[in-house]
C-alpha cells in the first residue's frame, strides 16, 4: 500500500525530559520520525519540552513547540495548528500516554485528527494489565500466574493465593516505577501501596515471581497489511527479576536452540498479530531454563529503549520504518537503507555479537542503595560489538567508564573465595564483577550458577578470560599469546600490566561493517566495529581511501549519566553537521546506542567503539585525520585530551594545555590571581588528615569534590569533621588518581555563562541566573534567563571577566563559566573550556543561529560577526527558565535534565 493521501500535517509528540527508563533513545527515534515525515512532504508539528534534543531543531520540523507535555497544551496546539494526524508511538511512554488520553477523551475525533501508527485499541490491549491477560489467554499464550488488584487488601489476597514471593507491577508506569518483589505480606503492603499510588489508573498486577528463568526479548515489526518480522532477539545475562534496563543484554540470544528460538519468535509474532500493532514492538518472555515452558512478561506497543538497541545492534532502523508504516507504507515497499537495494521486509541476520551494559548513577550518589530489581535504576547504557562474547563484554566494560578496563574490579581483588561467594546473591550493579572475581578465586561454574542463575554459557566465557589472564601471568608473552589477548578484547596496556612483560608488537585493529545481512548483500552503510582479523580485509579503509576531502574525527560523549546527558550528543551531532557543511569528511566514535550521533547517517563514518585511548588510536590509524574534536563530547572526550596532546594528534579548537590550565587547580588559581578575580578559597587534598586540616583552615562549611570530574560526581557539603571523615572514607575506598578539592562553601547567587571565542573575540549569548542557593549543583538548579536581579555594573563586570578568562585560556570554541556573587562580589567557581550542559538551551532560547558559529571557530575558521555579544545579552521580554526533573519516584537518585517550562 503506498503512502496514505490523507496525511498532510502530523503532530509528533516527543518524550520530554530525560528520566530513568526514558533517555536519549526517544530523541533518536523522534528525530528519525520527523525526518521521514518531512522527506515524505508531510508538514510536521512537534511538541517536546526538552530543548537538548535534535528533534526540536528547526531543521527537523516545520513548527516546534517547546511546551510541557500536558493534555491542555497539546489540545491548544491541535486547535491552533489543526493537524490531520497524531503520531504518539515514537515519544516513549510519555508520548503514548498523552496520545491515548487525547484519543479517549474524544478530542481527536472531534477535531478531525487521526491517531496514526498503532491503534488505540491495540495500545490498550497491551498496556492495560487485565485486557492484556485476556488477549494472551485468547491466543493461548501463557502468562505468569497473576491477578489484577485495585486495593492493597486485594493485593494481599492474591499474593496468598499465588504464594510468596510475588512481583508487583503497576499499570501504565515507566521503567517499572512503583514495582518490586515482595517476599512477605509486610513488604507487599508497602510496595503495593506505593505502586497503586503511582499508577495513573490505580491498578497493579500481582504476579508470581519466577526467579531464575531466562529473560528473552524479541523486537518485532508489523505493518497495516499484517506482514510481520523479527528484527532481533536479545538475551538478558541476568535472569528474570532484574529490570531489563538494568541487565547486561546480548544480541542475538545465544543459549536458545532452534526449537526454543522458533517457539518464542512465533509467539512474539502471534502476539503482535493479535494485538494489531502497526510499527515496532517489544515482547519480553521468561523461559524456563530446564524446559520449553515460557511466559509472556510484557509487550511494549511502541518504539522503546530496546528498539533503539536492536536498531543499533543490527543496523535496521526501526524508528524510521515505524514512521513509514504510520504513513501507510507496507514493509515490502520500504527500502533497506543499509543495502540500498533490498527491502525492509526481511529479518536482519548478524555476524557478530552485541553486548549492552547499563550505566548506573551509583558513583555519583555515595549513599544510594545499589540493589537492582524490577525498578530500573540505570541512567544510560553502552553497546559494544565484537566477534566473540569475550571481546564484546570487554569493550562494554571499558566503555562504561567505571574505572576498569577488564573484568577485574579493584574493590574485589582482596576478597576471599568465600566472601565473594557470599556476595553472589546480592543483586547489585557490581555483581557481574563479583561473579568474575569468584570464578577467578576458584568458585566453580555450577556453584556460581546455582546462586545467580546466570546461564553457564556466560560463566564459561568468563572462565575463558580468567584462563587467559592466568596464562598471561605465568607464561612468556609470545606473539601468539598476545594475539589471543587481542581476540578476547584486551587492551595493550592490560596485557602488559597482567603479564608484567612488554608487549611484543602492536597489533592494529581491522574494521568490519554492520550491514543487517551478514555480508550476504553489498552494503553502503559506513558503520564499523573493530576486530583483530587481518588488516588486509579492513572494510573501513576503502571508504577512507575514496575520500578526497580533509578528514576530521569527532569524539562522542559515551553513556548518558548524571551530569552528562543528551546535551552532549546534541552538541556532537551539530558539530558533525557543521563540519560536513564546511566541506570536511567526518567520522564519529561513540558507544552509546541511544543517540542520534550513532545513527549511521549522521557522520560520514561511524565507529561504534569505546572511547579509550587505544580504541580511539586504532580508528585514527585508519582515518589518519587532519585533527580530532573533543570539545563536544563532555568529560569523556576531555579525558582523551592529554593522550592526544602527547601523541602529536592535532586537537581542533581549544588546546590540551588550555584544558589543563582550567582543570588543574594550581594553574587555574595562578590565572585568577593574575587578573585579581576572586574565587572561594580552596585546597587540594589526598588523604583524610589533609582534608580535615584543610576544612579547619578554610572554616566549615566546606565543599568536597574530586577534581577532573563532571556533574558534581560525589560532591558534598561538609559541616562537621564527621562529614569530612565519612566522605573521605568512601572516596578513598574507590581509589583516586587526582586530588580531592576542598572549597570554602559560600552561600550566594550562582550564575552561569556560556561564551564562544575564536581566540581574538568573545561572544556571550547570554547569562543565566540560578534560583537555588550555591551548593546545589548547577545541573540541579532552576535557572532563568535573563538574570533577574543584576544591575548593569555587575553585568559589565561579568562580561569583562568572562572575556578575560576566555582569551587568557586561548579558547577556540565554547567555554562555560560558573560564577558566584557573594556579598556583592563576583567569584569564579569553575571554568570548563568545552561544550556544557547549557549549550543547547541558548540556540533555542535565542532563536538565533549563532549555534553554528562555535564549530567553525573550533575547526579554525574565523568568524567575522563575533563580538556582537553585548547587545544581545539582555533585551528579552520573556523569562525562560530551566527546571529540573527529578525521578524520585523511581529510585533515590535525582536526574537533572533540561526541561524548559
Amino acid at each position: 500500500m503506498p503512502k496514505r493521501s490523507d496525511i498532510k500535517k502530523v503532530l509528533v509528540i516527543g518524550s520530554g525530559p530525560i528520566v530513568i527508563g526514558q533517555a536519549a533513545e526517544f530523541d533518536y527515534a523522534g528525530a528519525q520520525a520527523c525526518r521521514v515525515m518531512k522527506s515524505e512532504g508531510v508538514n510536521v508539528v512537534l511538541c517536546n519540552s526538552n530543548p537538548a534534543t535534535i528533534m526540536t531543531d528547526k531543521a527537523l520540523a516545520d513548527e516546534i513547540y517547546l511546551e510541557p507535555l500536558t493534555e491542555e497544551t497539546l489540545k491548544r496546539i491541535i486547535l491552533k495548528e489543526k493537524p490531520d494526524s497524531l503520531l504518539a508511538s515514537l515519544g516513549g511512554q510519555t508520548g503514548l500516554t498523552m496520545g491515548c488520553k487525547l484519543a479517549k477523551s474524544g478530542f481527536l475525533e472531534k477535531h478531525g485528527v487521526k491517531l496514526i501508527g498503532t491503534k488505540l485499541d491495540a495500545i490498550d490491549r497491551s498496556e492495560d494489565r487485565e485486557l492484556f491477560k485476556q488477549t494472551m489467554e485468547k491466543i493461548n499464550q501463557p502468562c505468569v500466574p497473576s491477578d489484577i488488584a485495585y486495593t492493597v487488601e486485594e493485593c494481599v489476597a492474591i499474593a496468598n493465593k499465588l504464594h510468596y514471593p510475588v512481583i508487583i507491577r503497576p499499570a501504565y508506569t515507566l521503567g517499572g516505577a512503583g514495582g518490586g518483589v515482595a517476599y512477605n505480606e509486610e513488604e507487599l503492603r508497602l510496595i503495593s501501596h506505593n505502586g497503586l499510588m503511582l499508577s495513573p489508573i490505580t491498578q497493579v498486577l500481582i504476579e508470581k515471581y519466577i526467579a531464575g528463568w531466562k529473560e528473552i526479548e524479541f523486537e518485532v515489526l508489523r505493518d497495516s497489511k499484517g506482514n510481520v518480522l523479527t528484527v532481533c532477539s536479545m538475551e538478558n545475562v541476568d535472569p528474570v527479576g532484574i529490570h531489563t534496563g538494568d541487565s547486561i543484554v546480548v544480541a542475538p540470544a545465544v543459549t536458545l536452540s532452534t526449537k526454543e528460538y522458533d517457539m518464542l519468535r512465533t509467539a512474539a509474532l502471534s502476539i503482535i498479530t493479535e494485538l494489531g500493532i502497526e510499527g515496532g514492538c517489544n515482547v519480553q518472555f521468561a523461559l524456563n531454563p530446564d524446559s520449553f515452558e515460557y511466559s509472556v512478561i510484557e509487550v511494549n506497543p511502541r518504539v522503546s529503549r530496546s528498539s533503539a538497541l536492536a536498531s543499533k545492534a543490527t543496523g535496521f532502523p526501526i524508528a524510521k520504518v515505524t514512521s513509514k508504516i504510520a504513513l501507510g507504507y507496507t514493509l515490502d515497499e520500504i527500502v533497506n537503507d543499509v543495502t540500498g537495494n533490498t527491502y525492509a521486509c526481511f529479518e536482519p541476520t548478524i555476524d557478530y555479537l552485541v553486548v549492552k551494559m547499563p550505566k548506573w548513577p551509583f558513583d555519583k550518589f555515595l549513599y544510594a542503595k545499589r540493589e537492582l530489581g524490577t525498578r530500573m535504576k540505570a541512567t544510560g547504557e553502552v553497546m559494544s560489538i565484537g566477534t566473540a562474547f569475550e571481546m564484546a563484554i570487554m569493550k562494554a566494560v571499558r566503555g562504561a567508564e567505571i574505572s576498569t578496563s577488564t573484568m577485574n574490579y579493584k574493590k574485589f581483588v582482596d576478597y576471599t573465595k568465600d566472601e565473594l561467594v557470599a556476595r553472589l546473591s546480592e543483586m547489585t550493579d557490581e555483581r557481574i564483577f563479583v561473579v568474575y572475581a569468584a570464578l577467578k578465586k576458584g568458585a566453580t561454574v555450577d556453584e556460581v550458577f546455582n546462586i545467580t542463575k546466570i546461564d553457564r554459557w556466560f560463566l564459561n566465557k568468563f572462565k575463558n578470560l580468567i584462563k587467559y589472564e592466568e596464562m598471561l601471568a605465568t607464561q612468556k608473552l609470545t606473539r601468539e599469546l598476545y594475539n589471543e589477548g587481542k581476540r578476547l578484547g584486551y587492551l595493550d596496556k592490560d596485557i602488559a600490566e597482567i603479564s608484567g612483560q612488554k608487549i611484543p608488537y602492536r597489533k592494529k585493529a581491522a574494521y568490519k561493517m554492520v550491514d543487517t545481512c551478514a555480508a550476504e548483500f553489498p552494503a553502503k552503510t559506513p558503520y564499523f566495529y573493530s576486530t583483530f582479523d587481518s588488516q588486509e580485509h579492513d572494510e573501513a579503509k576503502p571508504f577512507v581511501e575514496k575520500s578526497g576531502k580533509k578528514r576530521i574525527v569527532v569524539i562522542g560523549s559515551g553513556p548518558i549519566r548524571i551530569g552528562q546527558g543528551i546535551e552532549f550528543d546534541y552538541s556532537s551531532v551539530h558539530c558533525v553537521w557543521t563540519l560536513k557543511e564546511l566541506g570536511y569528511e567526518v567520522a564519529i566514535i561513540n558507544n552509546n546506542p541511544e543517540t542520534v550521533s550513532t545513527d549511521f547517517d549522521t557522520a560520514d563514518r561511524l565507529y561504534f567503539e569505546p572511547l579509550t585511548p587505544e580504541d580511539v588510536q586504532h580508528v585514527l590509524d585508519i582515518e589518519k585525520p587532519y585533527g580530532v574534536i573533543i570539545t563536544f563530547g563532555g568529560q569523556t572526550a576531555i579525558k582523551l585530551c592529554s593522550y592526544f596532546a602527547t601523541h602529536g594528534i592535532r586537537i581542533l579548537g581549544t588546546s590540551a594545555d588550555s584544558v589543563d590550565a582550567a582543570e588543574d587547580r594550581e594553574r587555574f588559581e595562578a590565572l585568577l590571581e593574575k587578573y585579581a578575580i576572586p574565587r572561594p578559597k580552596a585546597l587540594t587534598v589526598m588523604t583524610k588528615e589533609e582534608a580535615l586540616n584543610a576544612a579547619e583552615k578554610l572554616e566549615y562549611p566546606v565543599l568536597l569534590r574530586p577534581s577532573y570530574v563532571i556533574g558534581g560526581q560525589n560532591m558534598t557539603i561538609a559541616f562537621t569533621q564527621e562529614d569530612v571523615c565519612r566522605y573521605m572514607d568512601v572516596i578513598l575506598a574507590q581509589g583516586i588518581e587526582n586530588p580531592v578539592l576542598c572549597d570554602k562553601y559560600l552561600m550566594g547567587t550562582e550564575l552561569e555563562v556560556d561564551a564562544i571565542s575564536d581566540g581574538k573575540d568573545v561572544l556571550i549569548p547570554g547569562i543565566m541566573q540560578h534560583i537555588e542557593r550555591t551548593g546545589i549543583h548547577s545541573g540541579d538548579s532552576i535557572a532563568v534567563y535573563p538574570p533577574y536581579n543584576l544591575d548593569d555594573t555587575m553585568l559589565e563586570k561579568i562580561i569583562e571577566v568572562s572575556t578575560q578568562l576566555a582569551l587568557e585560556l586561548k579558547t577556540k570554541g565554547l567555554i562555560n563559566i560558573q560564577y558566584l556573587i557573594y556579598r556583592g562580589e563576583l567569584h569564579v567557581i569553575e571554568v570548563n573550556p568545552r561544550a556544557s550542559r547549557t549549550v543547547p538551551i541558548f540556540p533555542k532560547l535565542r532563536a538565533c543561529l549563532w549555534w553554528s558559529l562555535p564549530r567553525r571557530l573550533s575547526s579554525g575558521q574565523n568568524s567575522k560577526n563575533s563580538a556582537t555579544a553585548r547587545a544581545c545579552i539582555r533585551r528579552r521580554r520573556t523569562w525562560q527558565s530551566k527546571c529540573l526533573c527529578s525521578t524520585l519516584k523511581n529510585s533515590t537518585t535525582l536526574t537533572p535534565s533540561s526541561v524548559r517550562k
Binding site: 497489511k225 536452540s257 532452534t258 527491502y343 521486509c345 551478514a518 555480508a519 550476504e520 580485509h537
Partner: protein
C-alpha cells in the same frame, strides 16, 4: 590442547588459515555460506547440503550443544564445516554433547578461527566455488578441486525403501516422493494430521499412484535438478492426476517437467530470513531456504509464478492450476503462520479435500 593448523584453499587461489576441530582429514567440496544464527544441527544434517563445505556467517556456533533429535536426517551430509568460533562449553537443557564431539562422531571435518565474513564476501562477489581443506596452504591438486561436482546427489541421500508415518486412520494420506526430505517435512505433515507414505526417489509415477494417496508431495533434496532426468519423466506422467505440492528440489523438478529451465545461482539462498512475497494477496513471509539452483523466471510458460523473493525478485513459487499442482522454492515445514508454510499446507489440504469430494 595444541591447536592444529589447517588450510582452506579456494578454487580462486585464496587461502584461509584456521584450526582443526571435529574429524581429521582432508576434504573437497562446494563452498557455500549459510546466514542462519541458529540451526547448525539442522544445517549439518540437511540432505540438501550433500557435498558442500558450509560456512556459517554467525561467528559463535555450537552454543546450545547438539541434540540428535534436532537432526534433519540420520547423518551429517556436509563435506566440511567452517566457523569462526565453536563453543566448547555449550549450555542448554537438551544438549547431549558438544559440536566438536558430534562432528567427530559423524566424521565431518571442521575448521575454526577463520574470518568467515571475508569468506562470505568472496563467495558473494565471485559466486560459489569449490574449495579444499588440507594441511597445506596450496592447491597442488587444482584440477581435481576445480573439477569437483556433486554427482548423483538424490541417489546418494534419498532412502531406498518405502516407509510409513502417522496415523493409519488419518483423513488424508500423502505420498511423499522422497528426494532427500528433511525429517521436519515428514513431521509437519504428520503434525497436521496426515498419514505419510515416503516413496523412494526411484519410484515410478505408477507406483506412487498405486499408493492411492490423496495427494503427492515432492520433497526437497540436493544437487543439480537437471541431473534427475528419469524422475522428471515420471513427474510428467503424474501431473494432473493427483494434487501435487512441491518444495525446494521438488519445486524445481516440477518446473523442469513443465518445460521451464533451471540454472545454478550465483550464491543461492541459504538461511532463515529470506523474504518471499505472495503475488496473490501481497503478503510477505520470512521463509527458510537452502538452495543453490533456481528456476529461470522467464522460462516459466506453464503455470503462474505466485511467489517472488523480495530481495532479488527470484521465482519462489509457481501455481499450476490445470495440473492441480503448486510448488515453492522455500521450505514450508516450519508451518507456523509467519514462515509461509501454513497457507501452503492449507491450500494443499483444500485441494485434496476437493479431490476427495469429487471422487
Amino acid at each position: 590442547m595444541k591447536k592444529k593448523k589447517v588450510y582452506l584453499t579456494l578454487e580462486n587461489g585464496d587461502v584461509f588459515q584456521g584450526y582443526r576441530f571435529g574429524a581429521d582429514g582432508n576434504a573437497v567440496g562446494e563452498l557455500v555460506f549459510s546466514t542462519g544464527m541458529v540451526g547448525y544441527v539442522e544445517t549439518l544434517t540437511d540432505p540438501s547440503n550433500l557435498g558442500q563445505i558450509v560456512v556459517q556467517t554467525f561467528p559463535l556456533i555450537g552454543n546450545y550443544g547438539v541434540n540428535e533429535n534436532d537432526a534433519e536426517s540420520d547423518k551429517a551430509w556436509v563435506s566440511a564445516y567452517v566457523v569462526r568460533e565453536y563453543c566448547e562449553t555449550p549450555s542448554n537443557f537438551r544438549s547431549e554433547g558438544t559440536l566438536d564431539e558430534y562432528l567427530k562422531k559423524q566424521g565431518v571435518i571442521g575448521i575454526y578461527g577463520v574470518d568467515t565474513r571475508q569468506l562470505t564476501k568472496i563467495l558473494r562477489e565471485n559466486g560459489v566455488m569449490n574449495a579444499r581443506i588440507s594441511d597445506k596452504p596450496a592447491l597442488d591438486d587444482y584440477d581435481d578441486t576445480a573439477a569437483y561436482a556433486v554427482k548423483d546427489a538424490v541417489k546418494t541421500v534419498a532412502p531406498q525403501t518405502k516407509e510409513y508415518y502417522g496415523d493409519e486412520n488419518a483423513i488424508y494420506t500423502v505420498a511423499l516422493w522422497n528426494f532427500g526430505a528433511k525429517k521436519s517435512t515428514v513431521a509437519a505433515l504428520v503434525k497436521q494430521g496426515c498419514r505419510v507414505i515416503s516413496m523412494p526417489a526411484s519410484a515410478t509415477a505408477e507406483e506412487i499412484l498405486a499408493t492411492n494417496a490423496d495427494g503427492v508431495m515432492l520433497s526437497d533434496g540436493p544437487g543439480d535438478p537437471m541431473e534427475n532426468t528419469s524422475i522428471i519423466a515420471e513427474i510428467k506422467k503424474l501431473l494432473g492426476k493427483k494434487p501435487v505440492l512441491g518444495a525446494g528440489l521438488g519445486h524445481q523438478l516440477v518446473a523442469l517437467a513443465c518445460g521451464a529451465e533451471t540454472a545454478k545461482s550465483k550464491y543461492g539462498h541459504r538461511g532463515s530470513n529470506q523474504p518471499v512475497k505472495s503475488l496473490e494477496d501481497g503478503k510477505v513471509y520470512i521463509s527458510t531456504q537452502n538452495h543453490g539452483y533456481e528456476i529461470i523466471s522467464e522460462t516459466v510458460k506453464v503455470g503462474k509464478i505466485n511467489f517472488v523473493n523480495v530481495n532479488d525478485g527470484a521465482c519462489e513459487g509457481i501455481a499450476y492450476a490445470e495440473q492441480k499442482a503448486f510448488t515453492t522454492q522455500f521450505a514450508p515445514e516450519s508451518c507456523n503462520d509467519f514462515c509461509g508454510g501454513k497457507p501452503i499446507f492449507e491450500k494443499f489440504f483444500a485441494l485434496m479435500k476437493k479431490e476427495k469430494e469429487n471422487a
